[in-house]
């Protein structure tokens, strides 16, 4: 017994290190970033309140950029208004002729960004509305310019949104002009990448990328960004497409939360298939292991003989 105590005392640093690592790993295996509930919801609420206190601090660079962006937007909008007026008249007559079935438009909630957290390369924003305003986890967030992100947690009065400049983000998207689709990901920096687009697809610089109807999380046709680079890389099957987000994340102050939630039946089906695939992979690994162990055994037996 004394020997054991001596051993523990002698190696207490290593024993405590190993024990704490095991505890941390078990906590990691139990937790998931998408499941924020209970105590953490209260924490989000309190952090939102705290971040709101600092929200008044002005950022001169952001204000300057915002002014510039607003002036440009103003110019664009005044041109658009003239075009729209003409289009409304034209649309009315055409709709009557074509029996145009209007696509559903989602109700939205206007929110203010009260805080921003950059945690190890992942951007999150705190908004000033939560469950009391009917906002729920999983609702997409956009501005007039384009997609901002998705709500990943909500307390009664605050919500937390995950911005698209995030390593966990994968958005099914398409080119507005040619309708070719791909996958939007972020790999650092201020731009996004559109992946899985074969070289034969027609996507050019200046094209606008929007969310596609394949997307489970986001409604269709929300603008994401503009293609600034589209080129063929040597030895690659796919195009290298760099997309500049339409939203200026440095100056964003207000956004709209679309009251749209993923279809639960569709989500359930995806989860079921995911689980099945994982199981299949595990079984395959087991069979491989047994096969290699048997092979090793026979080899050692052969050597002995």
């Amino acid at each position: 017994m004394q020997g054991l105590i001596d051993f523990v005392i002698k190696f207490k640093n290593y024993i405590s290190f190993v024990a704490l690592v095991v505890i941390s790993l078990s906590l990691i295996s139990m937790g998931s970033i998408n499941k924020i509930g209970g105590f953490r919801t209260i924490v989000i609420g309190s952090m939102g309140w705290f971040q709101e206190i600092f929200a008044w601090v002005p950022n001169p660079t952001a204000v300057k950029n915002e002014n510039k962006a607003l002036r440009e937007l103003n110019l664009q909008l005044s041109t658009e208004v003239t075009r729209m007026r003409e289009a409304v008249v034209e649309n009315r007559s055409l709709r009557g002729m074509l029996f145009y079935a209007q696509k559903p438009e989602y109700p939205f909630e206007t929110v203010e960004i009260v805080g921003r957290t950059t945690l190890q390369m992942r951007d999150y924003m705190m908004i000033n509305k939560g469950k009391n305003s009917g906002l729920l986890e999983g609702m997409p967030v956009r501005t007039d310019a384009g997609l901002v992100g998705i709500l990943i947690g909500a307390s009664n009065n605050y919500g937390l949104l995950e911005v698209i400049l995030n390593r966990d983000i994968k958005i099914s998207a398409k080119c507005q002009r040619s309708q070719y689709s791909g996958l939007i990901v972020w790999e650092g920096g201020e731009f996004l990448l559109m992946k899985n687009v074969p070289k034969s697809y027609d996507i050019k610089t200046g094209d606008i990328i929007v969310t596609s109807n394949y997307s489970q999380k986001y409604p269709e046709n929300i603008p994401i960004g503009e293609v600034i680079v589209s080129r063929e890389e040597k030895g690659e099957l796919f195009l290298k497409i760099v997309v500049k987000p339409l939203v200026n994340f440095a100056t964003i102050e207000q956004a709209f939360v679309l009251k749209h939630l993923p279809n639960p039946e569709k989500s359930l089906l995806i989860t079921e298939i995911d689980d099945k695939l994982k199981l299949r992979k595990l079984e395959a690994k087991k069979t491989d292991k047994i096969y290699f162990e048997k092979k090793k055994k026979t080899q050692t037996e052969n050597k002995k003989q």
């Binding site: 704490l20 990691i28 952090m47 705290f50 990943i152 390593r167």
Partner: protein, 175 residues
């Protein structure tokens, strides 16, 4: 009698130090989540809690260091939106490695020298390597690029801020 008085004084100092660490941790966590974005350089923010963990390990040793790092990391996991356990694990590793540089009674000597910056940089690189590894997906072939770009940059930024605690403990020359 004198020994007893000295022991009580030592214990009081110890408790005072632990309370200071606790207050510092809470303040740094709040700073981490609120005002740190104002000093972000292209999404890169320094990790002030890592500096604190290194400090504690160098001053108190590996044993207390890993426990303090676990509590700090876990608190950060709870108040931030990270997967619970990730920051706890990475901070434990930081404290454990930094603890190897613990020399009884010579903590301020280590902290007040360039060695402290080297320890901060080394542990920050390890920390970011492990942290980014959690978010590595099988399809992501760009882990190395991502780590070189952000892991090293964050470590460097953290090291730069490590200069302040180092300066506070540089022995002043008397005249």
């Amino acid at each position: 009698m004198m020994n007893l008085l000295q022991d009580t004084q030592l214990k009081r100092n110890e408790v005072r130090r632990y309370i200071t660490y606790a207050i510092l941790s809470v303040v740094l966590i709040i700073v981490n989540l609120t005002v740190l974005d104002f000093v972000a350089i292209g999404n890169i923010t320094p990790d002030l809690l890592l500096i604190l963990c290194v400090w504690i390990s160098i001053q108190e040793g590996q044993f207390i260091g890993v426990f303090a790092a676990f509590i700090i990391g876990l608190t950060l996991d709870i108040v931030s939106i990270d997967v619970i356990g990730t920051n706890a694990l990475t901070k434990i590793l930081v404290a454990f490695v930094a603890g190897f540089f613990y020399r009884e009674g010579e903590a301020f000597k280590t902290i007040g020298s360039y060695k402290f910056l080297l320890i901060v940089f080394g542990t920050a690189v390890l920390h970011n390597l492990l942290y980014n590894f959690f978010y590595l997906k099988v399809s992501d072939a760009s882990f190395v690029t991502f780590f070189m770009k952000y892991g090293i940059a964050t470590a460097l930024y953290t090291t730069v801020l490590g200069i302040f605690p180092m300066l506070s403990k540089i022995p002043r020359k008397g005249y």
